[in-house]
Each structure stands twice: as C-alpha cells, then as structure tokens.
Symmetry: D3
Subunit: 220 residues, 6 copies
Amino acid sequence: MRKAYLVTVALFALAFSVASASDPAPLQDFCVALKDYSDKSAVFVNGKFCKDPKLVTADDFYFCGLNIPGNTYNKVGSNVTNVNVDTFPGLNTLGISLARIDFAPYGQNPPHTHPRGTEILVVLEGTLFVGFVTSNTDNRLFTKTLNKGDVFVFPVGLIHFQVNVGKTNAIAISGLSSQNAGAITIANAVFGSNPPITPDVLTKAFQLDKKVVEYLQKEF
Amino acid sequence: MRKAYLVTVALFALAFSVASASDPAPLQDFCVALKDYSDKSAVFVNGKFCKDPKLVTADDFYFCGLNIPGNTYNKVGSNVTNVNVDTFPGLNTLGISLARIDFAPYGQNPPHTHPRGTEILVVLEGTLFVGFVTSNTDNRLFTKTLNKGDVFVFPVGLIHFQVNVGKTNAIAISGLSSQNAGAITIANAVFGSNPPITPDVLTKAFQLDKKVVEYLQKEF
Amino acid sequence: MRKAYLVTVALFALAFSVASASDPAPLQDFCVALKDYSDKSAVFVNGKFCKDPKLVTADDFYFCGLNIPGNTYNKVGSNVTNVNVDTFPGLNTLGISLARIDFAPYGQNPPHTHPRGTEILVVLEGTLFVGFVTSNTDNRLFTKTLNKGDVFVFPVGLIHFQVNVGKTNAIAISGLSSQNAGAITIANAVFGSNPPITPDVLTKAFQLDKKVVEYLQKEF
Amino acid sequence: MRKAYLVTVALFALAFSVASASDPAPLQDFCVALKDYSDKSAVFVNGKFCKDPKLVTADDFYFCGLNIPGNTYNKVGSNVTNVNVDTFPGLNTLGISLARIDFAPYGQNPPHTHPRGTEILVVLEGTLFVGFVTSNTDNRLFTKTLNKGDVFVFPVGLIHFQVNVGKTNAIAISGLSSQNAGAITIANAVFGSNPPITPDVLTKAFQLDKKVVEYLQKEF
Amino acid sequence: MRKAYLVTVALFALAFSVASASDPAPLQDFCVALKDYSDKSAVFVNGKFCKDPKLVTADDFYFCGLNIPGNTYNKVGSNVTNVNVDTFPGLNTLGISLARIDFAPYGQNPPHTHPRGTEILVVLEGTLFVGFVTSNTDNRLFTKTLNKGDVFVFPVGLIHFQVNVGKTNAIAISGLSSQNAGAITIANAVFGSNPPITPDVLTKAFQLDKKVVEYLQKEF
Amino acid sequence: MRKAYLVTVALFALAFSVASASDPAPLQDFCVALKDYSDKSAVFVNGKFCKDPKLVTADDFYFCGLNIPGNTYNKVGSNVTNVNVDTFPGLNTLGISLARIDFAPYGQNPPHTHPRGTEILVVLEGTLFVGFVTSNTDNRLFTKTLNKGDVFVFPVGLIHFQVNVGKTNAIAISGLSSQNAGAITIANAVFGSNPPITPDVLTKAFQLDKKVVEYLQKEF
C-alpha cells in the first residue's frame, strides 16, 4: 500500500533564500562579498569578507536568470532559485534577498522554516494554497488560496508551505528579510539529516513505528 | 523651447515601499497593524499598534491586486504600487515589504532614495536602464541595462533611478528591507516641498537662475 | 503493532522559553510588562506595554519556583518551565529569558525550533543526548552526550532536541536570547495544528501513507 | 544673466560625517580601526578590521583639530570637518561620530542626506536657517532659524540643509548616529556623478531643458 | 583631617544624556515623543509614545539654551545639560542625543558610565584631563589631556571621567549614541542609592571601614 | 582598626560573562570563533573571526566543567566561571552566554556592571541577597532575598551585586544577553585600574581623604 503511494511521493531539495528582520546594518555604501576568499583562507566572518570597493563594478550588483523556470521534475514538484548572498555577492550587508519558486501542477514547496528571515511572496502565475502555523502551544494554522497578483507574508521562523492547487505551472517571487536567511525543510532535516537522528528519538517524537522511521530515513 | 519640451516632461508622485536593513526584530509571532487606531486615538508608536492576536485571521497576512497594472499616464510615465505596512497591516514588525513598478514606454522612476531601506528589483517585463550613485565625495554612478529576469540591488539611502528604455511597457517587482522604508523623489522633495524651500537656497545649491528655480517650484 | 508501541509513545506540549539574538535594545533602565493591559484594551505593541516606572517594585524583577520539578508524566516524558516575558514581566525589553527542562528517564524534549532565539543549555542532573540539524541543503546533524555541568548551544532557528539517555531524572537550565523567542515543536506544529494541515500536503511532504497522516493528526 | 550669477554660485564638496541609528552593537570594549590594513590586503569587512587591543593607546581614542575653522572659500561658502571612523579610528563599532561645519556669511550646507544616520546639530556661532523635507508624498518642509546654543535634529535619510543667514561666520557641531553615515549632496550626486547620469533621465526628472542639464553637468 | 577636606569635596548630581550604539531603528520619518501622555495614562512603551504626525511642527525638532552655562556651584564643580528625549521630544526613535558639560576651575565630571550609549566629546573651552577604564580583568586606564578642539570617545558602558585641570572654566559638547542612554555616577549610585545599600556589602566590596561607609552614605 | 578589618575584606577578580540585548544577528547558521587566529595575525573584527564551517564539529558547541565549584578562597568569597565566547567559541555571533557563580558563606559578588548585557540569574543552592541601582538621578535600589529556584533580572549596564547571606555555600547560574558582555567590578575599576586614576580625581569624586584613596589603590 505504502509502496504504491510512494511512486508519486516527492523528495524535495530546495534551499530557500530568505531574509531576517534584523541583519546588522551596513557601515558603508556597500560591501560586496569577496567570492572564494574564505574558501582559500579558511577564515570567515559573520556574513562575508568584502571586495576592494575600488574594484567593484555594476556587475557586482547584478544577477541574471530569474526568468528561467526551475526544474520541477522531482518528487515534490517544485524548485527554488535563490538570489541570496551566496549567489549574488552584492547583497552582502544589505539585509535583503529574493527567490523564485516554480511549481509543477500539484507540486508543493513542503513545510519549512527560514531561521533568519520573514518571507513576503507574490504569485506571478497559477494558484497556490499557502499557510503557516504559529508557535506553541496554539499552533494555529493560517491558510489562503492565492491567485496571480496576490501577496502573503510568512513571519520569521514559522513553519509554512505553498502548494500548487491548479492544473498548470505556478510561479512565485519571494522577498526575504536577510541576505542569507537559510531554509529548513522539515521532513528533510528531521528524516534526512546527515548522519541520521537516532530512530528512537523520532519514533517517540512523531509517534511512528520504528520501521516507518527507518524507512523514511532511507528515503530522505 | 522649454515649453515645447515640458509637454512631455513628467511630474512624478510615487510613494515607494521599501525596507530598511535594520527594522527592530519582532518579539512575538506576529503583530498585525491595528488600522485606524492611531488616527482615532492620536497616539502613535514606532511602527504601529497591533491588533488583538486572537482576532487575527489569514486575511491579515494577505494582500491582493499586485497583478493590476498601475496607471502610468502621468508626467514621468511610471507608477509604484506599494505593499508596505500602510497598505498591508500584516507586515508590521516583520522588516520587509514589496512594490510593483509599472513603466510606460520611455517612462522612468526618477532619481529617489529610500531613507530606511535597501531595494532588490527583478524585471518581469521589458527593458530597464537602472543606476545608483554612491555617497560623497566619489559620487560614482553604477548602471546596468536589465531585461526580463534580471535582478539589481540599490543599497539603503543611495540615490537611484529606473528608466524604461524599451518601446513596450515594463514591469518590475521590488523587495525592500523595511516594513516602511519611505521614498524621497529628489526633484519633488527639493522643488516641490510644502511649503517651498526659499529659492535663494536652491539657486546656490543647484547653480540655477532664480527664475528657473521659481519656475520649477511652480511645476512640482 | 503500532498500537503496542504507542503505549510508550509520547505527546508533548512544551512551550519553550528562548531568546532571539536581536531583540530591540532597551531605551530606558527597565520597562516592566503591564500585565493584562492588552487583554483589556485589545491594543498591543511589539513586545509589551509597560508599567508606570514609579510603581515598579523589586518583585517585578523576581520570579520564583524554578526549583520545582515539572510534571513529566506525559507522552514525551519531559516538561519545560518557561521564565519568559509572559511569566516574568520584568524581562520586557531586556532580550533574555530562562527555562527549566525536566526529563523523566528516557524522556525527551522532541525536535523543535525557537523562531526568535538561540539557546544555551547547561545540565544540572542526569545525562542528555542532544543535537541540532543545520539548514538546507547540508542538514548536518551535530550531537553530543552531556553530563552534569556540560553546556551546549543551539543556534537560532535550527531544529534541535534533547533526550534523557539515563535511568534517572534529568534537569537542564537554558538561557535564551530573547524575552519571548517562542518554540515550535515540529511534530505538533506539523501534525497537530489547529485546524489541521490538509493531509494531501503532508503525505507528499513526509512521504507517508495518507492513512498514517490522518492517524497522526488524530493523535496530536 | 546666468553667467553673472554663477560668479557667486557655489560648488560644494562636503563629505558629512553622520551616524546611523542602528550600527551593529560592539562585541568588545573597543575595536579600533586598523589603518591601511584593507588597503594593503584588499580585503574588507562591514566597518573596519581592528587593531590588536594590546597595542591600542589613548591616542587611538583621540582626535585633534576641531577648533580649526574649515576653509569656506568655495562656491557654497561652507566646509565640513568630519570626525568619523575614516579620520578617527577609535570610533569603529561604536555607532557615533561628530562633524564641525563652518559657514561663510551667506554660505550654505546645501540640500543633502545621510544614508545611514540621524544628525543633531548645535550652533556655536552665528545664525543658521535650517530645514528638512519629509518623504513622499507629503514632502513637508520643517524650517527654523537657529542662534547660538540652539539645537535641531535631522532624521535619518531625509533631505536637509543649513544656511548662514547672518553677516558673520557661523559654526555648528553635529553629533551623528553612525561611525560612518555617509553624505549625499543632492546636486552633486545628481548632476555631478562620475560618470554623468544620461541627460535624458535628468531632463525628465527635473523638468529641465536638456541644455540646462548638460550645462549643470559640466559645472558639477 | 577628613573634615577639613570635605569642605571642598563635592556632591554631584548630574544626569548625563548619552546614546546607545543600538537604539531600535525608526520605522517612519519621525515619531516625536508625546509629552505627558504616559504620565496621565500610566501606560508606557520602550521609548515614548508619539504625537500625531499631522500636529508636529518645526518646534518639535528644536531645542534652545545650550549656550547657557550650567551652574557649577556644587561639590564637584561641574554641570551637565542634557538634550535627550526627555528634554527634546523630537529625538524619539532617532538614536542620538547631545549634552553640554560645564566645569568650574578644577571641577570634575566624576567617574560614571552610560548604560546605553557611547559618548564622543569635543572641548569648546579650557583644558580637560579625561580617561576611561576597560572592563575586567585588565581594567586598563586610558587618559589624555584635551584642549580646545580636541575630541575623545568613551565606549559604551565603560567607567570614565573628565576633570578641568585649568584655572578657567571649561566647556564640552558630547554626542551620544542613544536617545536616552542614562548615566550612572558611580559614587552616587554606590553610596547614595535610595534606599542605601547595606553597609556590610560596601565595606567588603570597597575594603573600607564600616564607619567610613556609613559616613559616605550620609554624605551622598 | 582598618587593618583588623581588612583581614576578612576581600579582593575580587571576577570576570563576568554576560550578554547584551543587541548583539548583531547571525548571518549564517553558525560562525564558530577561530581560536588564536587574531593573536597570530594581529588582525581583529567586531566579535571573532570564524572557523571554516566544514571543519566545525559538535565539540565546538560544547563546553564542560560548569559542575565544578569555583575557588571562593579569596577576599570577596566568590568566584565566577564564564562560559562566553572567549571560553566557548561556539557562541560567536549567537548573542548569549552563561556564567556559574559560587559564593562562600557570606561571600559576595561585589557591585559591578555589564557594559554590554542584561543578566538573568537563578539560584541553585543557598540564599542570596541581590540588588541593582537605577541610573541618575533617582538611583533607586531594588533588592530581594533569593532562595533555591528563585530568579532575578539585572537590566543592561546597571550596577548590581549578589551576597550570600546564608551559612552555607551558594551557587547561581546566569544567562546573559551577549556573547561577551564584559564585567566591570566597580571597586577594582575605580581603585585598581592600571595605571591608577590620579588620586585627586577620586578624593573629590568619592569624598575620601587622599590617604584613604592611596591606601585603597595599593590594595586593589
């Protein structure tokens, strides 16, 4: 029974680009991230080291390709293209980032959080069913069906999701309140961590049979 | 000569919705702005008073209409639709906002600053020529021509502009690092303030003939 | 099979008290939360309204009872006693809080996040196995077995857990970087939200049979 | 006509030292900027790298020369002496700076903004007419004539100016809410950027004849 | 011997106006403090409630009187005139304040801290000997003699002092990184608190004879 | 008389580990401090340089030894064990720290401030008399006697103390709102700075006979 189902069940691997409400403020006009410097020097700072401002050009503040649909041919049927400080060095110290999210028909951006950012999403194409859950102990669920031009906000750190409930592809753009808010896809982090969480912890936490937990851990 | 020109010269009246890199962080899951409360009570706080969380519904986190083109039939040929805390109460305390910018052919979003936010812009339709100028004393200009799917970032507080250099309409979406970053259209603020700035100040500052200054002050 | 297991499987209902790394700084010596004012007036602010400082006494900076063991007779075998701005008004504007966590033998504080705070934990009694998972796409798991006097830190927003791996009760104290960081118990928020998340979303996200999802939603 | 006027019209080249309301807080007693290190290494950070604290001396927290009048023999008849992190390394991480502003009779500190700071100004000598303009769409102008001992505040990011309306020199001291808030002299940034902004943009934005724009761009 | 000395020994009662490096950022152009509102309503917020922006005038951003010498005819021979949010409502949410410090010949601004702000001081008249002490366990003392036009910075929270070492009056202006940083005059807070600290605590802490402590507590 | 007393009077040398309400927020999951890098390179940043995240292990988030009583055999009869970014590199960028405080019978943690943090203290063993003094000009003293399980909060930057008023040892744990808030023991900083503060300053400030000041400066 489960097997049959799993054929259509999805693996998701999205890295969301979001933005925290409280990135440290910039102390100069700009501080473009110095690519690969930390990789070579093995020294890091909060955020990124910056390029010599005399060498900065307009291209440092420019990113291209957000018009290209992401590949949604995966288990969850969605794809996130991040425009954060890792892919767009000009954002360093500026406290903001973007993402494009593509959804195949009935695809979803499964439940996840952004540990360092609030997300404001606008639908460009299609129809999305979206929601977030508040923290303990209420765990209230707020949901809405969004069409083209509709906007929704997911407060920092709360679990949220977006599902394409239409028969066509859907596209959304998200603004995020940090240069690198991170994303935690709940199922992946819980069942697919590296190394895996001891099954005993998860069987109790999720009230699942140990075999189911071990099965899930193999899948993720 | 001037007169002939002015027929096509534009007055602009856009209120941009941007986002500062350093809005205070939220101290609860959400704090939806309480509409009209300050108007009635004549008491205000930094940001907005908030609605009783028990009365909050999904609609408080929802805004619609960003699919509707703004009216660009004005002197600058552009229009900004703000999705900030004034129009979207759910953003209160969350440090982020959005805007849609429409451009008529050859329309522009004239030089302006956001006093409390960095702006990250993505082009949805058309071709924009964009740029920003760094602070004194370098005043370096960084410019780029953007096409569909291209992204650019305008650091907090710096003067920037966007011009539609194509023959068709253009559309952009901006993510902004504050719930209410404000916008200052330079020409409007300088020549169109209420009341006007003493012409003597502006003649010296802008090295313009007093008559030109007075003429401009009438126009804006 | 599942039934047999569930006898020992736990429901958890803990509300963690944590602290964000970036609460807004205080603008006066103290701003003790004004209890019940918002409840009566239905008006709220980011954080809490404050008591007249002339009426503040030493008792406003005092909380008692953290010596009392929490009741761990529940499905997860743990209990969190929060000392945050909701239970201790003197913390308002001060960016810090505490919690006491009690664990029955083999009890656990199941996977959860604090949307607005980092947690630093010290073990007072017993032996805890603790861990956290980093964000996408690495989802690295860092774990450690802690004994009396050992300290561990869980960075803001990341999923973490603590398990009593000893035969005796365990006790921990956590310092948290916000006056009200919130806690999101993953299993509760995902399977126990109010109202429930559409089962279709969860079956796909967690790769679970729909019946299992519906079963879990009844349990949480 | 214009020519005659321009003899007394001024070019201004002031770099204001201001301070943002939200510089990141210090994480140690002090972090004195390490002069020239970034120039040599071509590596930068948000703010400045810091000197070995063991090598820091009292001179690192000391700046001299604010008693020396600035040279106001220029087109705007004013001069700003900055005491910010670039000239006074001890300010690094401390979120504050100072400036001395000298005014020749009828000289002015022309319309400008500080992208990263609020300015509080006190008049030491003379009589200043000062003002600032609020953001769109109100663009309200607030002005005041200040005499010796009078204080005025210019909120972060708003366009403001100071004019010596007396027959004698005037002197002011400004406290600023960032270690390096930057200054943007509007006319310079708009008409004197390097390279120049396309005249077409400015003719439309400022409703000026293209020849006037090109004339101004040569002047600035 | 002590008696003879005490005739010239000073009691000091200065309330310094300083500014923290991390006041929350403003969320609108301005938020002028609403005078007396909290006194009447007995309800407070972090910072101050704000006046209806429509009723705000230029006078709200204006303070006068910093040209008037403070009365230094007191035991320490100094006087601080604060221009902070309590005396100048326009500063609310703006993260900066000023103070004027007057010194009689040989007067001092005795050892004190600003719990919420860094101070940058410029000497207008006279000669000051100034210093600050770093935190534990080094407790390094940095000192400098300042003349007219000299500037010094006292990092947030560190104990510092200023002494007029000249035969004439001295005047200084300080910029401070908060709208209300507070000041703690060490001797007053320790020996003159209300009610007094138990003498036993102070005898041990300061290694003073209990009679000396009790004597000091009467004096302060 | 004094001599007899001094036999039991204490010298204190505690370096408190506290936490500021406003440490800059993290811009990545973690940024573990790179030990000794600054010592070797003589280059520093606000906070600490960080270790290559690929080399980080669970041990970087782990500190042991808080179960070990500190040595209180000193003049004040207390001892502070800091768990801050200097001793626990995993705390870097995370805005929180801990401390254990041990008290001999009648020992005290003498009056001190934390320049960059609020402290929340919980008593584990014994009975403490604690208090803090507000800033000028009220200097109100708030005190409380705490027993096992009692909690008290000391707002950022205010002078506070803890005294063991019981016949047995006392133990407390403090959570602090910065990775490195620093501590300033008042008596040490004032009378024991290196080099010493000119006795003339202290005689006037503390209304003490110069010989007493010089005596104290020898002691501390």
